[in-house]
Homo-oligomer: 226 residues x 8
């Protein structure tokens, strides 16, 4: 007697969407898709649509995206960032400018998740790629842009040295997002995480490994007043 | 000359089911399925049926379930909790009430394993979902229910902060089950495990990561006298 | 032939004070005293005085303080925060308000280091103490104050759960400073550090363990535009 | 200009004693002394006396004890457990019996902290010492006592194997307190902590390393209804 | 221009079989198959056959076994232990008796690897299964057998408590083999490994996690003189 | 509305190849393929070809190789080392001789990556295999070759003891490359990494786990002047 | 009211000396002094003397030794090994020869603890010092001695490579004792511990870090039949 | 009967100075003083003098230095580097130039140990201090010097980012020495160690934490041919 109906029966209860909190905090709510089934995510999307609250779906794999788009076809899905946004149109821009810097090409998906999150929270954003510390001239070549930012999100794996270098060059705060890019003694992001927590320069705010959403959200809050 | 008969030949010996212990302790015996082949689990199910001892099969994947149900078709299989119970009917309820709290949707499978385990050990149980610390009003909204419980099982991943918050609000003991929900510096459940071991509020009993069975069993023992 | 003159002979070279950087970034320079001898710190203080650049001396033990005060007697020394500031008078206040929250009494020295740092970077600051998650009513009782802040610094050891709770209640960013307060599986601050990196609520910026200076500096940068 | 008055000036604010919480939860409040100065602890003792709320002072070194006894001379100080109780007389006994087991002589201070805590929360307690798994006959020789308990607190360092063995022999829950007793790969209590979290027998509730207070408190809550 | 001939061209050089060492030490040589291709293992088998030196192939998956049996069809393959032995017939028995104990059913593959290794090194061996510490009566029920052994190999995962218990009951040395059986805070075998290194009873020799071959080899050396 | 064009649209920007750096440093540039899509790697290969700069593609799986060879068919692909070199012909040999030593057969892919990297940086290289410390006579049998080297690259997993032994026998520096070969407490290369960092003999230069490219590059730089 | 009599009052109960176990196992009992007060150790010594059971006191600091010698002046105290033996005269020699090898001078205290333990368990022992892998000729120069041993205890810190090398040269089992000698990434003995667990040569039995007593005891059991 | 003569009696045997190895390798032998008593170190100094072999004494505290200087008064002692050299005069300079870079003032003792070691191995050395990545202009201001070096030793704690930056600017190899400078999540040097192992730039050779001797020795070997 296999009872495989439990998951669906429980579905009604399982996600008391926290619209109050979103409203209270003034930013769109986020639904973390990893570890949820497409069916669960689809059901949440339907509820979101019915209530009309702006929502981001993060870590959305292709099948999550399909389930959400079936309910809210007008949502925007960014495949690389694995992010769905509903509504597709970001809010009007306010606050100060955000610059997102990716140390290497492999850091791009996380950087893009940060960029889009800050965009959907209402900030004007710019992306700079492939400016690792191994080629300082590339960092220095973007100094003007970096110094105009209200906050800079630096996304880096391996030695995680870039936030320290950038924070030494500007007076704005730096949000550091370690990535699991690298191998061996990078230990899935521990090496850059520790580097960033021990940055020589003050002004470095660290978030979780590969947490582009968190980095972008924090940056948007910091730049809320520009 | 490949001798692939060893596993089956050894089968007769390999699981001296500890009915004495179950009897001595007064609770159903449990068979941990992970790492056993479906054939091994099926053979145990047959032995269980022949002896007539109530038994739980934990961490039972679909193929384990199939093998057990082939021997004891009247067993109950909960797909989400990956738990099989034989007999399907829980014992008469005794002791005090158990409340199981899941911090997030992704913690549901573990929470459900705890809930069913306590149920099959004879307790009356209630499940509360999606009450993470990021939305305190939801925790506070369930305070009456929480304060009526003889013991509360709190299942949480990520920052694992919920047991500390709940234990500060009630006088009953809290069984804290960390989950591997989260990513990056959650390190497969280490982050919530450490949070729970360091809970600011006394009265938090910690079990292993993702160990819904252990959490439910412990809760049932605590609530044996209600 | 013991040559114990090396340390002093090298003294001339050993600290190329980075006044340019301070000027470039617009904040006082900081001298980290731990691991330096009082004599070295005293020599730096003399150089600081000669150039007239505002400077903070962090992690200054009593003998460091004595050496600095011998050179710049008008500096201010806060014994609990182990911080020396020269000049003693903070700059005129600008930007938005900073609130510093200490979860427990033992977190006070680190909280105070954050408070003074932000103060000497020009922010108006307020301190709230002993509002750990084990007594939620105390957090909730300060909600008005918390919601008026441009940024909140939360200093906590043990389970490190407070930043998650606070960030869920406000729209401002939260700077989380884990402390080494606790024992056993707190592992010198690893438990709260991991909790904070895995906070359920977005908007939590983590700095190094016991790094009150870093937390205060980051907060001052965030609140520079209020 | 050294301002060493800060600590005392702040003293008025620094410990909003949570009498409400104590009352709400029905157990004496606890003051964790480690990391507080004797002067701070003494000031808290004075406040405690003025309000008349039963209080435990844990991890109280000799100088903490002296400061407390200066304010409330009628308090009881147990030097080995580093615990002060005020009032000295435990409340009337209620609930079920608690048995505290220490695996080795070196585990005694932690075991005694658990024993006294449970006693001051109103339980009848008994202490059994030196019954490590290396000499099973000693465990087995106490089986009758163990089986009469409503809950058993097992305090063990090194391999931490005793809770698993005890939990396999009784139907009551076991509170396992790992200690930092041992050396080398015991890693300050990590080895027994992990053993206990992975106990083969269900029914083992783990608390923090060396946390005798936490273990005793949890046991008292479990045995509240006997 | 893809040069995929390198692996095969290098094949001639890649394994200078150490027959001298085998001869010098007096035991069969072992070939560790994991991380080698079936083709590489097959080529080694051919070389082994040509030289006529008794050899064990450990961690041999099905395709490794197929490749070896193609060269030396008269070899013996034990599927559960993933061990191939050539020649299939163990040497004449010498030395003292070896007893291999598996704590749980899931530890059987590793236990069997130990058993077969010791057998192929010339010892008389006996296997005891499912005698974990959660059911002490089963350990005690085998005491006679355990006390007759020259050396006991104890294979256990999870809390790894069994070697400590067994070593306290006998005067022979115990070889402890931790397994990766378990989940969560078992950390792939770290928990039982640490338990065993910190065993309360002296006389416990620890080998690597899941290293049944190493455990059996060591036992055979210890029991060489019985 | 799924926008799957982002990745390609961004492609133009995503890899500002650092030819300047390569020129400045005098060695071919390297493209790390792991974590990049074949399409991304192919686009880089096209850019490389257009600029005419010698380039190595490391960690190139079969599909990466296919994409590169489609653009630059005359490149050389070594399947075992997962390395692509363009142009296929190494530069003229200069500097001193490099010897690469692999402790075991399973270390060969990493050793070969080191060998080819040093070759494409212009050094004369020789490979020695299967000379682990368990058979010292094999190390000693190659002493002449080892002592003629300007630098020795030692690639080893498991106990990582070989670099210490080799460094004790020669006056040239030893580059130690730990590999993830081994299991259990080898922890994916941590065991040999720590051994090498703690080598008893001075003169051991450690690089990241499995980093054959890094080891070969460092060796080529050391042997640049022979 | 400070009750400082508890420790002494409890003294009668606190150490049920396990003479039965000693008798059952046939070896002297051991009292681990670290973490016990001199008074406690002295009381145990008096009990030991009264019962007449041969006993070793391990990790005995100078004040422990003084307390023991006050009770049993005829005991033998080895200051370097921190070991007290009573009676001072070892039992008659039996079994096979034990060789103890110390890799470096700093490993001597642990090596000596092993040597004396095996001696007091009745074995003939020999000590070899300063034969680390950095100077292979010294290991090779003692090959005759090593090959005559029934078991070899190898004590080593830093890279812990020596047991692997020795085990490759002999057919006897090797007991490996990692020491906390070294710094930085030796992590208090973790580096050599991991090396030894991952030894390339079979036949290596690992005990806890700095556990000379455990290593010597195990060796004596192995060599009981020579 | 306390036998405190063992240490001295054993003294004759305990350090078979490996002059052969020194001669074979062509560099002075080193005596690691930490963990040795002053008396032991003094005895070694006497032996060194009698044989006339150039020797370095590393990690020599003041009392070690006193004991050595009593035997060889003409030795040179550098207090900051804790290094003694005998003879005091370095050998004639040969090979290429070595530059030692210290990221911060607190890294000076380790940097100086590296500098002196390379000097006593015969290299011409230069020291650059306080050039951390937080102030890039200071690194760039020394570019000419850095590019003239045959090898650069970079000593850094905290984020350990400097070696990556330096290696990206030069073609010479970089020897990276992580230091235990920093606090909290620097974990005694683990953070910079991991950064360095994961350096974005190839050409970084890592040695143990705080191992200035090892870094200087390796640099001298690399620069032996300039």
């Amino acid at each position: 007697m296999t009872d495989d109906r439990q998951p669906s029966r429980i579905l009604a209860d399982f996600a008391e969407l926290d619209h109050d909190r979103a409203e209270r905090r003034g930013y769109p709510e986020a639904v973390y898709c990893e570890g949820k089934t497409p069916a669960q995510v689809g059901a949440i999307a339907a509820a979101v649509r019915d209530r009309g609250a702006p929502t981001l779906f993060t870590r959305a794999a292709a099948d999550h995206a399909k389930a959400v788009l079936a309910e809210v076809p007008e949502a925007h899905y960014d495949q690389e960032a694995r992010l769905l946004a509903w509504p597709a149109e970001p809010p009007e821009r306010s606050g100060g400018p955000v610059v997102v810097v990716a140390a290497g090409t492999s850091d791009l998906p996380v950087a893009r998740e940060a960029l889009l999150t800050a965009t959907y929270l209402g900030r004007a954003c710019e992306l700079v790629v492939d400016v690792g510390v191994a080629g300082l001239h590339r960092v220095l070549g973007r100094l003007d842009l970096l110094r105009r930012a209200r906050v800079i999100v630096v996304v880096a794996g391996m030695d995680g040295a870039l936030p320290s270098v950038v924070a030494g060059l500007v007076s704005a705060p730096v949000v550091a997002v370690p990535t699991s890019v690298g191998y061996g003694a990078a230990f899935g992001g521990i090496a850059p995480l520790l580097s960033m927590l021990n940055a020589c320069s003050p002004g470095v705010a660290v978030v979780n490994i590969d947490n582009g959403y968190g980095g972008g959200h924090l940056a948007a809050q910091i730049a809320a007043v520009g």
